[in-house]
Symmetry: C2
Subunit: 395 residues, 2 copies
């Protein structure tokens, strides 16, 4: 167990239909000039937009819409301009990870006079400048952005998809599971896989005897495994949506990663796929994760995979390697049961032309050769891509 | 899963030997006039007192010592006077639950001009007055006070031991597992039982499908079960002390109790024992807990106890009632393995003379007849006391 410092000041307001009464007094803390950020038109179709505008009828609300999945730096540039031109007091981000991620960076860009892509590639700058307060209303359970200080922003011009961290987490997060009733099966599955991947990235770590943390992670994993299929079959099941939403938040609010040694592996690799092919992040993770698990399984890692099998999947047996293999197979089967493609050709990646370039970049950006749980070189990552072309190892 | 609002702004600094370099810059945030609070002389014997005074050599440090286990309102009165007389900027509490609990109330009493016992019996007052910032250096893993806003304060004149909640949690908590190396076997056992009891109180709840939360609690329980015996056998085992310390914090920082319906049961009952007989809180909990579990086990509750048995104790079997009974027996055996008395006569409570008075008070203070997981009347609580006179049901 490694030393850590932890603080997370986000106020979570969890439950159905709280925003109508609570949004105005919350935003009032920060001022009257609000930048409302959102994605496509779904919040207008669902009526959420009207509810927000009714709640904020005594505020001056400016709008930035059209923030796309895998949010682009162009949206941040638009937001930067709007916050400056309109002397915005606070941002209200309504959406999933993309909208909230972009809004966090806009909140910093308000206090920066050059191109905000600088803030992504030079991480130190954001720690030295102010950040607008930002509140979110989450509409997709996946990234955990609703209670952390991270964003992932893409720059199509440079084929880069990079993480950036601001000084602050959201001031307030409204977590209303009913707002995810309308999330498609595809996005529900992808979001659930993303949550699981966050937990895996933090669980498979070389810090020893980090048992409280392992226990927290295992507990959240079991909840996701149980409830994701229920949400797919019964999209308006409150408990399913509530457990997935809270699992999303707990999976990446910093807490379950404390006491760790290593950085992440599968996320940096997937970010390359999304940057090159703009595929759905969680689906990419679902394809890569079982291949990564199989690839790094060894005498050294078998004990941890067996712990995962016993505590998460209730697999019984004394042979660590056998339990580990069964756990990886069950992981694959669970992802597949969510009805997502299980190969790269399934997401229209049929050629290996970018494998080496993506692998090189993943190793560099993710420091996979120095900081990962099991260190990977570019040729290892290429093998993961190659293994992802077929289902040979799993079916 | 019930609605909840959650925020916890405590900054945790976890790890060995951080305070020498970090204490001064942390206290500097609040001012130069510090009230240092502690218990008996153990921090002087261990050298911790000297380290603190060295770190704070540029501060004006005032002292309140002698805060006893089951902290008394008299210590709070002393602290109130010292904060007012010396215009204190912040409190630094060094100790376990008793010192930190008393210090939290002193931090409120600084801004109250009457007897601070008022603040305990009229909970609303504390929410309307200010509270000094307070920092703690934890020396005992047990109560979770290091990351919550609660205190338990005793008034020997009235035989009352009551919980009170302030507006704030600690500003900063230094969690250094090595500071618990010198904790006695008795206090280590009692503290570990206290942690487990906090988790039980939150786990056995009527909110359904609260799976993320159940998973978090189960995970922390497994860590305590694993590491408490190690800490007893090998008091300077860092990982044992680290897991118990972090389990203490996670067990009662508010997080694992979210989404619940019910109030607690065993704590209010034990508080009567401690108030009447001044026994060690955790030992009292260890005696009462298995009796309470057995008493409330029924067709209605068997499924939850079986879940506990399967996820925490890895008990295999399809018969919920059988798994539940085995889980309760294993709970008893684990507590007993910590070498603590398992009956009331073992803590010198040999007469039933106060059973009814204590039961009446527990039901009233704890609202056991209306708000508990399984509702209890005074006669039920008397039966728990009676069952605690012998080991008949367990051995």
């Amino acid at each position: 167990m490694e030393d850590f410092t932890f603080v997370n000041k986000t106020e979570v307001r969890f439950g159905a239909d709280r925003l109508d009464a609570e949004l105005a007094p919350v935003m009032e803390r920060f001022g009257k000039r609000i930048l409302l950020t959102y994605g496509g038109g779904s919040i207008k179709k669902s009526g959420l937009y009207d509810r927000i505008m009714t709640a904020l009828k005594d505020f001056e609300v400016f709008e930035l819409d059209g923030i796309a999945p895998n949010p682009k730096i162009a949206s941040v540039r638009d937001g930067q301009r709007l916050t400056k031109e309109n002397d915005i007091d606070a941002i209200l981000a309504v959406g999933g990870g993309s909208v909230i991620d972009a809004s966090k960076l806009i909140a910093s860009a308000r206090f920066y006079d050059e191109d905000p892509w600088d803030l992504v590639i030079n991480p130190d700058i954001r720690q030295t400048i102010d950040q607008l307060p930002f509140v979110d209303i989450l509409t997709l359970s996946a990234t955990g952005t609703e209670m952390n200080n991270g964003s992932v922003i893409s720059n199509p011009d440079t084929h880069q998809k990079l993480a950036t961290f601001g000084p602050n987490t959201p001031a307030v997060s409204f977590l209303d599971p009913t707002l995810t009733y309308s999330v498609s099966k595809w996005q529900t599955a992808a979001g659930s896989i993303d949550i699981m991947s966050h937990l895996f990235e933090q669980y498979f770590d070389n810090a020893t005897n980090n048992d409280v943390q392992d226990g927290l992670r295992e507990g959240v994993m079991r909840a996701v495994i149980k409830w994701a299929p229920v949400a797919l079959a019964d999209p308006k099941n409150y408990d399913a949506r509530a457990n997935l939403m809270w699992a999303s938040t707990m999976g990446l609010n910093g807490l379950v990663g404390l006491g760790n040694q290593n950085d992440w592996t599968v996320h940096p690799i997937e970010h390359e796929l999304s940057a090159y092919y703009d595929i759905t992040h969680g689906v990419g993770l679902g394809i890569l994760t079982p291949r990564w698990m199989s690839y790094i399984l060894s005498e050294t890692t078998a004990a941890k995979f067996a712990q995962y099998g016993r505590n998460v999947w209730h697999i019984v047996g004394d042979d660590d390697m056998a339990v580990a293999k069964q756990a990886i197979q069950q992981t694959y089967d669970w992802i597949k049961s969510l009805d997502v493609p299980m190969t790269l050709p399934g997401v229209d990646i049929t050629s290996d032309e970018h494998f080496l370039a993506m692998a090189d970049s993943a190793v560099e950006v993710g420091a996979l050769d120095t900081d990962a749980y099991v260190k990977l070189q570019a040729e290892d990552v290429v093998k993961l891509f190659e293994a992802s072309m077929t289902t040979d190892n799993f079916e």
